[in-house]
């Protein structure tokens, strides 16, 4: 047990310390002083003492939203120009996202990296996965099972069976819905409240290659090559919309369903009509939405197409458009994208790696290897960590 640390000649040291602190600080904080929330606050600026916004300037300086116009001036009365405005608001946004993220409160400041201890063995051929916020549900396509893994520590909890070709998943309506691909297409369903058992088959009227899956809250939508299926989860009724070509990924942005095809992305109405078509890269896969933009991984083009889908108020744009096409950053057969609040992760199937971007700036962060032969495919977020399915090594890994 620790003893109290002895402090000798404390007052003498304190005086020296005080002097040293003042001297050390003086090159920075020698200027205007005021009282804010009962604290005496000193700023490095010499032109803010009389400002009615002294305390707000202090807060902006303390939380790194501003550095002043130079080392000793804030220039409080100078008008703000639109270019400066861009800096102010993007710093504000990014600061909020960083400070308010769950990772911040858990002291998790490290960048993503691969650790074998953060992997969990599942059954053969895990390709897709999805979290309900507490557990991660993994489709083992080879084994035809679904694994339930606890997100906080990666412990394998349960396995559901008799789901041959288990593919993409969506957590909706208190259930887990899973496509059963590569055979007469099925939609499976799990009730997570129950004990593990064979999955329920909602319908076997999906096509031969059911791929992406999403929900608009009421229906389950499944992409399948040349058709899109809209399934009523209550009674299993299937409505089929034709006229598509290699439809693969599915996404719901809060207002519309979107589907990726070989080199396009289409925005759909609830009656299946195509509202808009935009060009993306070759062999577009499974996209992610970050609240404003859709990120589309393009397997053959080794690129990411970023589509502006909504405005900052969350309203759908009348005319969505391609914002940018991103390359490099280790892209090598990118197949699936996921969002964690701050970053976009994309899996590189051939590259045996994942690539990360900052969502607000579209800037690349890093590429991280998931080890040779891992063939990372599906990706999701549990609200705190990213999870990736390693189809080549029958594991899931947490970043």
């Amino acid at each position: 047990m620790h003893t109290n640390r002895r402090r000798t000649a404390r007052r003498a040291i304190l005086l020296t310390v005080f002097t040293v602190v003042v001297i050390a600080g003086s090159t920075h904080l020698h200027a205007d002083t005021g009282t804010c929330s009962g604290n005496t606050i000193t700023l490095p600026f010499t032109d803010v003492a009389g400002s009615p916004f002294f305390c707000q300037i202090a807060e902006a300086f303390f939380s790194a939203l501003t550095n002043g116009t130079d080392a000793s001036h804030y220039s409080p009365s100078t008008n703000v120009t639109r270019d400066q405005m861009a800096a102010f608001i993007t710093r504000t946004l990014d600061s909020e996202l960083r400070r308010g993220s769950r990772k911040a409160s858990l002291d998790q400041w490290e960048q993503a990296f691969f650790a074998s201890g953060a992997t969990t063995d599942v059954d053969s051929g895990p390709e897709f996965l999805k979290s309900d916020g507490v557990d991660v549900w993994v489709s083992n396509g080879g084994a035809g099972t679904i694994s339930r893994v606890r997100a906080s520590d990666g412990r394998l909890l349960q396995t559901w069976t008799q789901a041959p070709g288990a593919g993409t998943l969506v957590v909706a309506r208190g259930r887990i819905f899973i496509t059963g691909g590569a055979e007469n297409g099925r939609l499976y369903r799990i009730d997570p409240k129950e004990l593990p058992q064979p999955v329920t088959v909602v319908t076997n009227q999906l096509g031969s290659f059911p791929s992406g899956i999403t929900t608009d809250g009421s229906f389950i939508w499944v992409a399948d090559a040349d058709v899109i299926f809209k399934v009523d989860p209550g009674n299993g009724d299937v409505t089929t919309f034709t006229g598509f070509d290699s439809a693969s990924g599915m996404l719901y942005d809060g207002s519309n369903v979107w589907t990726t095809e070989d080199h396009t992305i289409k925005k759909l109405a609830s009656n299946g009509n195509v509202l808009q078509t935009l060009p993306v890269g070759q062999l577009a896969g499974h996209p992610a939405f970050d609240g404003a933009n859709i990120w589309v991984p393009n397997d053959i083009s080794n690129s990411i197409t970023v589509i502006r889908a909504k405005d900052s108020r969350g309203e759908p744009l009348a005319q969505p458009f391609v914002l940018a096409t991103l390359t490099g950053n280790g892209l090598d057969s990118p197949v699936c994208a996921a969002f964690d609040g701050e970053r976009i992760l994309v899996t590189n199937l051939s590259g045996d790696s994942i690539s990360l971007w900052r969502a607000t700036t579209l800037q690349p962060i890093d590429t991280i290897s998931t080890q040779s032969g891992s063939n990372p495919f599906g990706a999701c977020c549990d609200g705190l960590h990213f999870w990736v399915a390693l189809s080549g090594t029958n594991k899931v890994v947490r970043f």
């Binding site: 008008n79 703000v80 120009t81 639109r82 270019d83 861009a86 800096a87 608001i89 946004l93 990014d94 996202l97 308010g100 993220s101 769950r102 390709e127 309900d132 916020g133 507490v134 557990d135 309506r173 208190g174 259930r175 691909g181 590569a182 009730d191 997570p192 409240k193 929900t215 809250g217 009421s218 290699s246 942005d253 070989d262 080199h263 060009p279 070759q282 062999l283 992610a288 939405f289 609240g291 404003a292 933009n293 405005d311 900052s312 108020r313 969350g314 391609v322 940018a324 096409t325 996921a338 969002f339 609040g341 701050e342 700036t361 579209l362 800037q363 690349p364 495919f377 999701c380 609200g383």
Partner: protein, 405 residues
């Protein structure tokens, strides 16, 4: 996995060229390097600007659209009305991106579905979450049920909470109000095996909702006649001492905004702000038969059952300090309101249960804009509501269920 697609290399090349041409009509303008990456913007007036990368970020995440399709006008002075647009977009973007459901890829507003409902004990009243489980008070069975939030699995019930109505998660315990004359404050330890609750104190008749200021437990007590003699009880949880504050008709809703206790006096149609000694600091007139309010960090939202309205009251200023004088911002109507009972906040939206309308109504909290009404099953009679960090949870009195929304 067989994706079943045929790749035509000539087609690829022509598509790439087409993309370059198509893209160029939009993004032919200024370019720059940001964090080592080439960035192209549609604006033609920002190329050499020291804030080029900040303008790029503001454009990418929708905080600005420029002054025209090809100009950003970087040297123009920002006016206050433009400022309002910039900061509200910034705030809304942050709130939306930080949403836990965004990270889970769940962009729906919410839905009532049979599979997302859990049977609970008879006549569920109010409900609260600890972030992992949902706790529901059921008046008829005098029990408190525990449901796992992630999957809706019914875990267990605590018993002996006579007439259980209100629930509070605080101090490592679950506090419950219940009973008639006298009323009771109950408590139990959720880390122990389920069993009987413990009675902390006797209260005034018909205690309803409850809250804490960090130390005391405060309960709204309807009173035995529901038309006079109602009161507020303040309980010291360490020794069970009760202090009663009278002078109210029939309190039902109560909350703490971080600075003050606020309570609803139903027959008086008044929202009261209380001092720590229980005296009235301010009274605000709201609508007819107000019930259980919610706080969003700045404003209190009061559902007015018989007016089919929601009164929004500004109680804090922009830095989070209590206003010397709170005031009504507006009264919201429409949006499916039909005997609204209980309000709840999820960081972004306010939800209100519609007891007769058999559904819920939602608003965006920052700008009070309506997001629509959503139906629960007919005859379900939604009553209490809370948020667990990911989903709303609604008690359905008509069908004795707890529904995830």
């Amino acid at each position: 996995m067989n994706r079943g697609r045929i790749i035509d290399r000539a087609m690829v090349l022509s598509i790439v060229l087409a993309l370059m041409a198509a893209g160029s009509s939009r993004l032919r303008a200024d370019s720059g390097t940001c964090s080592g990456q080439m960035i192209a913007l549609p604006f033609m007036d920002v190329a050499a600007n020291p804030f080029f990368c900040d303008i790029a970020e503001a454009y990418f995440c929708g905080l600005t659209n420029g002054t025209s399709s090809s100009t950003y006008s970087p040297s123009s002075i920002v006016t206050r009305d433009q400022m309002a647009a910039f900061i509200t977009r910034t705030q809304d973007s942050a709130i939306r991106r930080m949403n836990r459901r965004a990270a889970l890829g769940q962009w729906t507003q919410g839905v009532f579905a049979g599979g997302a409902m859990t049977d609970v004990d008879t006549f569920p009243y109010l409900v609260k979450s600890d972030g992992v489980d949902i706790w529901v008070a059921s008046a008829a069975t005098s029990t408190v049920s525990r449901v796992r939030a992630s999957d809706g699995h019914f875990i267990e019930s605590w018993t002996g909470a006579s007439g259980a109505r209100g629930v509070l998660v605080a101090r490592g315990r679950i506090y419950v109000t219940g009973g008639s004359t006298p009323g009771h404050l109950y408590r139990f330890d959720p880390s122990q095996a389920a069993g009987d609750v413990v009675t902390v104190a006797d209260l005034e008749p018909y205690p309803d909702s409850l809250t804490t200021d960090g130390f005391f437990i405060w309960t709204a007590c309807n009173g035995s006649t529901f038309s006079n003699g109602g009161s507020i009880c303040r309980i010291n949880p360490t020794n069970g001492n009760v202090t009663k504050f009278s002078g109210f008709v029939s309190p039902n809703g109560i909350l703490y905004d971080g600075s003050n206790i606020w309570m609803i006096d139903l027959p008086a149609s008044v929202l009261y702000k209380l001092n720590t000694n229980g005296t009235i600091a301010q009274s605000i007139t709201v609508g007819a038969t107000p019930y259980y309010p919610a706080f969003d960090g700045t404003n209190i939202w009061v559902p007015n059952k018989n007016n089919n309205s929601v009164t929004v009251v500004r109680v804090k200023d922009s830095v989070g300090a209590p206003l010397a004088s709170a005031f009504v911002l507006t009264t919201l109507t429409g949006n499916g309101l039909d005997n609204p009972i209980c309000a709840s906040f999820d960081g972004q939206r306010i939800l209100v249960t519609n007891n007769s309308g058999d559904g819920v109504s939602l608003w965006k909290a920052t700008d009070l804009s309506p997001l629509g009404a959503f139906s629960a099953p007919s005859g379900s009679h939604p009553y209490g509501a809370c948020f667990d960090g990911v989903n709303f949870w609604i008690t359905l009195q008509g069908t004795n269920k707890l529904a995830r929304f």
